[in-house]
Point group: C2
Chain length 485, copies 2
């Protein structure tokens, strides 16, 4: 028999996938859209995205990266120019063939990414090394018609930022790719409270068209990996077919060196599956659309209490993102609503609290309750925001570390993957076939190559070990395997 369901939410231990779809709907994050695989981002989830936009725009600004906007339509002929690129996306391209009742002479795709349009743009504006670097970013919706969809994780349409840079110097471009990776890692840690493993994608897993793809991989509560951000060094892969050339200081024509990097509404899925519990979603306070829910005991009963509540809301709104619920529902009902939606802090104003000039403050993460005098409330909430953030991050980090095994042999990899753990194994075999075999036998894919293999990022892993897969050659290449979303 199934366990008791809190608020119509399936317990995580019973069915994690069902738990997820229960909380995204009951937590008022999404409604399903009328076209297969599309979702409506309700204010609760779009507010998280808006906060991410603000945070990321500051990073863009401090790196002299400017926002711009390219059309969502790409003609077939243009998309076909970079053949690796089109091969990766071909089956997922939504295609416009007519307008009103008129057939178009050329089919038009809705963008699955804007690489080709950016490249056309760069080609038009790059002639000398003096024009470089160009550093731009776009906030946009993109369309990929995936076979199986899941809110936030894989939807027909999603929102993302895609940044693109063009450099005269390949080293500068490579360094920039890594810099953006580090920025993503920081945002994930400092705002979404999500610890990640960072590294390079294997040749089989990298972005079609990239020379090197770096990734941030986060561990969800079911042990699966979720790719949460990527940063690509594109080298000449686009600048050659799109003829993005420049005259260097010696007056010779060279192809430019490009990077691209992106993060999407997928991160909302990541934070839900990193922090949520059987009561619902838990939104980390530094990215939350609502940081504090203020719930009043039926305020219509007492005008003085109503004034007290409204004054409190006004004061706290100056400092925090506050939402007030003045409705006539019971405090219990309101508290339960606040919990499902994962507001990190809720303040309950009951008749008893009010008469003592104090309120009850409840943390969503630990459910601890505390009566706090109004005079100390702002300071208390500020410190609580730090505490909740740190607790969410530390718990997730501990869980990740507890669930990664370092193994020397493929048999150990199999045992650990079967337990839904992540596995790091020395592996010299960089061919697609070896990874395909592992995926077929275990369900796991290569999530990343540890950066320890680079001299500059040496860590304890940077030593020679026998390849765990072929058991033949020695290697410094350590690969992280996991089942993934």
């Amino acid at each position: 028999m199934s366990k008791r369901k809190l608020n119509n939410i399936t317990p995580q231990s019973e069915d994690f996938a069902k738990w997820y779809t229960d909380v995204v709907v009951n937590g008022k994050l999404i409604d399903y859209g009328p076209v297969r695989g599309t979702v409506i981002m309700r204010p609760n989830s779009f507010g998280i995205w808006e906060n991410f936009q603000k945070i990321f725009n500051k990073i863009l600004d401090s790196n002299d990266i400017r926002n711009m906007y390219l059309p969502m339509f790409i003609p077939k002929s243009l998309m076909d120019m970079e053949s690796d690129h089109i091969l990766g996306f071909a089956p997922e391209l939504a295609t416009i063939t007519k307008v009103g009742e008129k057939l178009l002479t050329e089919e038009i795709y809705t963008r699955p990414t804007s690489e080709v349009l950016f490249c056309k743009y760069f080609a038009a504006h790059t002639s000398s090394y003096k024009d470089l670097p160009i550093k731009v970013n776009q906030w946009a919706n993109v369309i990929r018609w995936e076979k199986t969809t899941n809110p936030f994780l894989r939807t027909t349409e999603f929102l993302w930022q895609e940044g693109h840079t063009v450099h005269a110097d390949p080293l500068e471009a490579r360094r920039f790719t890594r810099k953006m990776l580090k920025n993503y890692e920081k945002i994930l840690a400092n705002y979404l409270a999500i610890p990640v493993m960072i590294g390079k994608k294997t040749s089989r897993e990298k972005f079609a068209g990239a020379c090197t793809t770096y990734t941030c991989e986060a561990m969800m509560k079911d042990g699966k990996a979720l790719q949460s951000a990527t940063s690509h060094y594109l080298a000449h892969n686009f600048s050659k077919p799109f003829e993005i050339g420049f005259k260097n200081q010696q007056n010779d024509i060279e192809y430019a060196y490009q990077t691209s990097w992106g993060m999407s509404t997928r991160i909302i899925g990541a934070l839900i599956m990193t922090h949520g519990d059987d009561r619902g979603v838990i939104i980390p306070p530094k990215i939350a659309a609502t940081q504090v829910d203020i719930l009043t005991f039926n305020p219509k009963l007492d005008i003085e209490q109503d004034n007290f509540s409204r004054e409190l809301v006004k004061n706290l709104s100056r400092v925090f993102k506050v939402r007030a619920d003045y409705s006539t529902a019971t405090l219990g009902y309101k508290a339960s609503e606040s919990e499902i939606q994962g507001t990190p802090i809720r303040i309950e104003i009951g008749p008893r609290d009010f008469s003592n000039d104090s309120v009850t403050v409840v943390r969503r993460d630990t459910l601890e309750k505390e009566v706090v005098p109004v005079s100390k409330l702002k300071k208390h909430i500020k410190s609580l925001i730090e505490k909740i953030h740190n607790n969410l991050y530390d718990s997730a980090k501990q869980r990740m570390e507890d669930n990664i095994s370092r193994v020397n042999e493929y048999s150990e990899l199999k045992t650990n993957i079967a337990k839904n753990r992540w596995v790091i194994m020395p592996m010299c075999c960089s061919d697609n076939e070896s990874e395909e075999k592992i995926q077929k036998e275990t369900g796991a894919t290569a999530r990343l190559i540890m950066l320890g293999e680079d001299k500059k990022d040496s860590d304890s892993l940077d030593q020679l070990s026998k390849c765990g897969f072929c058991q033949e050659k020695e290697t410094r290449r350590y690969v992280l395997f996991a089942k993934a979303y």
Copy 2:
């Protein structure tokens, strides 16, 4: 023979339309996209849109309106539900019929507006008067395949915000429609330095599906009107077909009352054609992506001067939106580039200025130059921003007032429209045929009905006059006619 062209810009007096397309390209605002009627918004124009977003988001916030995001795809069956609505957009709908090589079973439209999806959403979340009002907004791209296109004014894809509210009380909804109209009028005046006439659209010109459409109409430098924002009272027009019903306080089921209101990237066209001159664009300083261009005389020649420039840029960047040009081009070239792009203020750092610890400050609007000591620079720029804004607004307002005629007879309307003026005429005939005749004979359309006709907004026009068109009945209905974009 053609007049001398400054910076490849056709003089306004020679060909205003050509001037416009010259400045949007040479001012680095747009590139044309690969699909007909699409444009790339370069950082110079997208930065204006970003600033508008920040300003408008504050207004949303202070009105308890939350942002959300709906899918861009609308299935045909859903679009067909509100028939007036579909009739208005049918020939402009881009239609997706296949994905990869697979044909879809139902055709899908790219949104020309999101009314129908919002309505489905409202229907799902409205059951009691306690759920109302719902107040939400969306920032999105929309697609309308128009026959003739023009950058910003009419493009296949454009960006906009569309706000939607649902109310239990029709008066509250009507009041809200007007409130948003006033907000638009204020943004146009206070940030874009664009004065407008506000009023109601005639039945022929209103939004398909609206009960009442309010509009802000701006006068471009060629005398044409540009609709710059609209606010619609939708009454029951959508709530009936989409079944957005609620239980009122008496426990009876009622249909809800809706509003919608929007402003788009069109406003960038509006500000270009309101303020620009033969030297290029002039961006009003309170909406400009770059408020101050800092142009240095070849900085590589003198390290001390270079340090001086960089220090200045650092200091000013804390207060203003600053862009620095350290390149080796001549000051004259840099100044000319700054002028075409319309940066409201530029600072020139020549070798002489620098040695006196002062810089040359140039206003883009009047081209006045002034040598300003560095110690007084911040204060000077702050006051200059106010002065430039006021000058742009006042000039535009004066021009608008000078070019509106109040007439009593249709013959006078004809003479004035022929001179590209705006004309206000008393007109009782509210049928489409009368307006069609006027358009056919003069090229002008009814831009708005003056709000003076409402008792609450009474002004000097609010008096009975004989209808200028039929010369029969007396009326308090005054209609503004103009040629329009």
